[in-house]
């Protein structure tokens, strides 16, 4: 298992390098100018000087090299400095965002909490709702519950969040005035009341996002349960006189969870990637919103870094999913 993991990590290094180059070149080719949001009243020559100050004039290979160095060397050093109070990275040039002129990583770190709160929570909620639905739908296949579950998950697939999001805002914020329509990212939870406030502002985005997660995971769960319910060992368990609860919730579930857990693990990078549209609709300024504003503002270092972090997460969680598979399924032995 260890060799397997090491080997996969070794393979992922060249993969990530290729990905980083692809992302870098792609974005370099992309249109857009960080100066486009500067008012027209600012003369062109001033804009040109501002561009030069951002380092846009340098050739692409040089910038790619610099960026790689910054991403893989300077930023980790900064992280170490941050954790241990050392000063390894003092004086090193960090990756600076063009829009804010501040280190990209700091902004990412700042955005992470709200993204994790909302998108992460919705994922957790979605999964927690999805599993029982999937299990029961499979167990009572073609029952009314199953049909309803199928319908709800289809709705989850079919209704885009910019539709459902605005709809719940109109219903719950404007008509009923139950929840705020604007998410307050500065809100600090330090008491029961503030926790309630936090809950209230999270409910709608979490609801909208969880619907999609629930839809997907419950379908997976159902399919996986169905596959396993037909297996011979289920009959064995019944033949041993085990109760249905034990048969379904211990024997079948344990087996069905193996593929589902890996699917869940593969969905995790999505949390860190944020949910662009939902964040926009509910004004949860998380990573997704950061990415879209960076794209709109042609903030290349930000977009490059964010997409690359995302790529690293995807590759990493792919690996994790494989390892989890091996851990959960005793039949799988890597090496």
């Amino acid at each position: 298992m260890l060799t397997f993991a090491l080997r996969r990590i070794l393979i992922s290094i060249p993969t990530l390098l290729v990905i980083s180059l692809a992302i870098f070149l792609l974005l370099e080719l992309a249109p857009g100018d960080p100066m486009s949001q500067v008012p027209l009243t600012v003369p062109d020559e001033v804009k040109q000087r501002m561009r030069e100050a951002l380092g846009m004039g340098e050739p692409i290979p040089v910038r790619y090299g610099k960026w790689l160095l910054q991403f893989f060397w300077v930023e980790p050093l900064n992280l170490i400095d941050h954790w241990f109070g050392t000063t390894f990275a003092a004086g090193e040039q960090r990756i600076l965002s063009w829009q804010t002129r501040s280190p990209v990583m700091e902004i990412v770190a700042q955005r992470m909490p709200q993204t994790l709160w909302v998108v992460g929570m919705s994922y957790v909620v979605g999964v927690l709702i999805a599993l029982p639905i999937g299990i029961y739908s499979a167990y009572r296949q073609y029952s009314v519950f199953d049909q309803a579950g199928t319908f709800v998950s289809m709705i989850g697939y079919s209704v885009p969040p910019f539709f459902s999001g605005v709809l719940v805002i109109v219903i719950f914020s404007i008509q009923l005035q139950w929840f705020p329509s604007v998410y307050d990212t500065t809100h600090v939870v330090d008491s029961w009341d503030s926790f309630v406030v936090q809950l209230r502002q999270m409910i709608m985005p979490v609801m909208v996002l969880a619907l999609q997660t629930t839809a997907q995971i419950s379908r997976f769960m159902r399919a996986s349960m169905l596959d396993n319910l037909g297996q011979d060992y289920v009959r064995t368990a019944r033949a041993k006189g085990m109760s249905e609860a034990v048969v379904v919730l211990r024997h079948v579930l344990r087996n069905s969870m193996i593929p589902v857990v890996t699917v869940i693990a593969l969905g995790v990078p999505g949390i860190f990637g944020g949910a662009i549209i939902t964040e926009q609709v509910f004004k949860v300024n998380g990573i997704g919103q950061l990415l879209i504003t960076a794209i709109q503002g042609a903030d290349l270092p930000m977009v490059q870094t964010l997409t690359f972090i995302f790529a690293v997460l995807i590759v990493g969680f792919n690996l994790l999913a494989d390892i989890l598979y091996g851990l959960l399924d005793p039949r799988i032995r890597y090496d």
């Binding site: 249109p31 079919s158 910019f162 539709f163």
Partner: protein
């Protein structure tokens, strides 16, 4: 995801061996008959598909929507871009069954035009994604040597963000495409390419898995023992047998492409905003949600119902194409 109803394949015909399939044994009737016409598998698929009510509804609705957007302009000849400023913001009426928008454009006509775009995007992007996914899946599953590199390529694409990619493509090809085939077709191609190029990966993975499994099946070995070369092996034995996962991906792909196109429209990255698609109608409508809810509800319902219908179709197709079920 494979769902299957257990009421047929779980029939424990005693012994649990591979169950021999009932077939009228050497009966008296067979000798006189001439060669039977081929019993189309499509028919079997359809017979099974029919039993799935959701799928039947889905297929019916999808056909209805397709006919509506294709034949709609004949029945409802109003121009979707015609501005009748005096009639703006009117509710549903006989002259404008779905009402008009803030410029007095007929919403029904815009829905029909928008649907044509959205469905065209959905179908073509799906076709492209399927083509790429199947090609890459088959190649990497069938040829061991290509496997590593193609799967890394898949990883790479999974890690690429759609939005910047679309922007790049807009820049690089828009002008030449616009000059060659006109602005709307150009963007259409770009959106389709963008969605297609960024959504083939799941199909590729599924197909690869299936091909790997198929390669171990004895009929492939049988073909090898006959001396069938790789090209025909793929076209004759591999492709027809990965058809069912591909068909299922197809339905999911249409739904996915419709949603993606509307999300792009929502973010203002899709078609020009005077060019109606369901997504852009929905986006424009959300601002008017309170005063004119129908402007959100029509396109929203159109997107959702179409995707729903297609998803149900996929569900039914999955069942219908599963030989474990259809076999009997």
């Amino acid at each position: 995801m494979t769902d299957r109803p257990d009421h047929t394949d779980d029939v424990p015909v005693a012994g649990n061996e591979a169950t021999p399939v009932p077939f009228n044994p050497v009966g008296a009737a067979q000798s006189q008959r001439l060669i039977e016409a081929p019993r189309s598998q499509l028919r079997d698929v359809w017979d099974q598909f029919k039993t799935h009510k959701g799928a039947l509804f889905g297929a019916g609705f999808f056909v209805f929507i397709l006919l509506a957007v294709l034949l709609g302009p004949l029945l409802w000849p109003l121009e979707p871009t015609f501005i009748d400023i005096r009639a703006r913001n009117s509710g549903p009426s006989l002259t404008h069954p779905f009402g008009t928008d803030q410029l007095g454009r007929d919403i029904l006509a815009r829905m029909i035009a928008g649907g044509r775009t959205s469905l065209a995007v959905g179908l073509t992007a799906m076709a492209l994604a399927l083509f790429l996914g199947t090609l890459i899946g088959v190649l990497s599953g069938y040829f061991r040597r290509l496997d590593g590199i193609l799967m890394r390529l898949t990883d790479l694409f999974l890690a690429l963000p759609l939005l910047p990619l679309l922007l790049v493509m807009m820049l690089l090809f828009r002008d030449s495409l616009r000059a060659a085939i006109g602005p709307e077709t150009g963007i259409f191609l770009l959106v389709v390419l963008g969605i297609g190029v960024t959504s083939w990966m799941p199909t590729a993975r599924i197909v690869r898995g299936d091909v790997l499994a198929l390669k171990e099946r004895e009929f492939v070995l049988a073909a090898r023992s006959i001396g069938t070369p790789a090209r025909r092996m793929i076209t004759r034995h591999i492709l027809p047998n990965v058809l069912s996962p591909v068909m299922v991906s197809a339905t999911l792909g249409i739904a996915n492409a419709i949603i993606t196109e509307s999300a792009l429209s929502f973010l203002g990255l899709g078609f020009p905003s005077d060019y109606p698609t369901w997504g852009s109608l929905l986006r424009d409508g959300t601002d008017y949600l309170q005063s004119y809810p129908e402007r959100v509800i029509f396109p929203g319902a159109a997107i959702s119902l179409t995707v729903l219908a297609v998803n149900y179709m996929g569900d039914g197709l999955r069942d219908a194409l599963d030989p474990r079920i259809r076999g009997r």
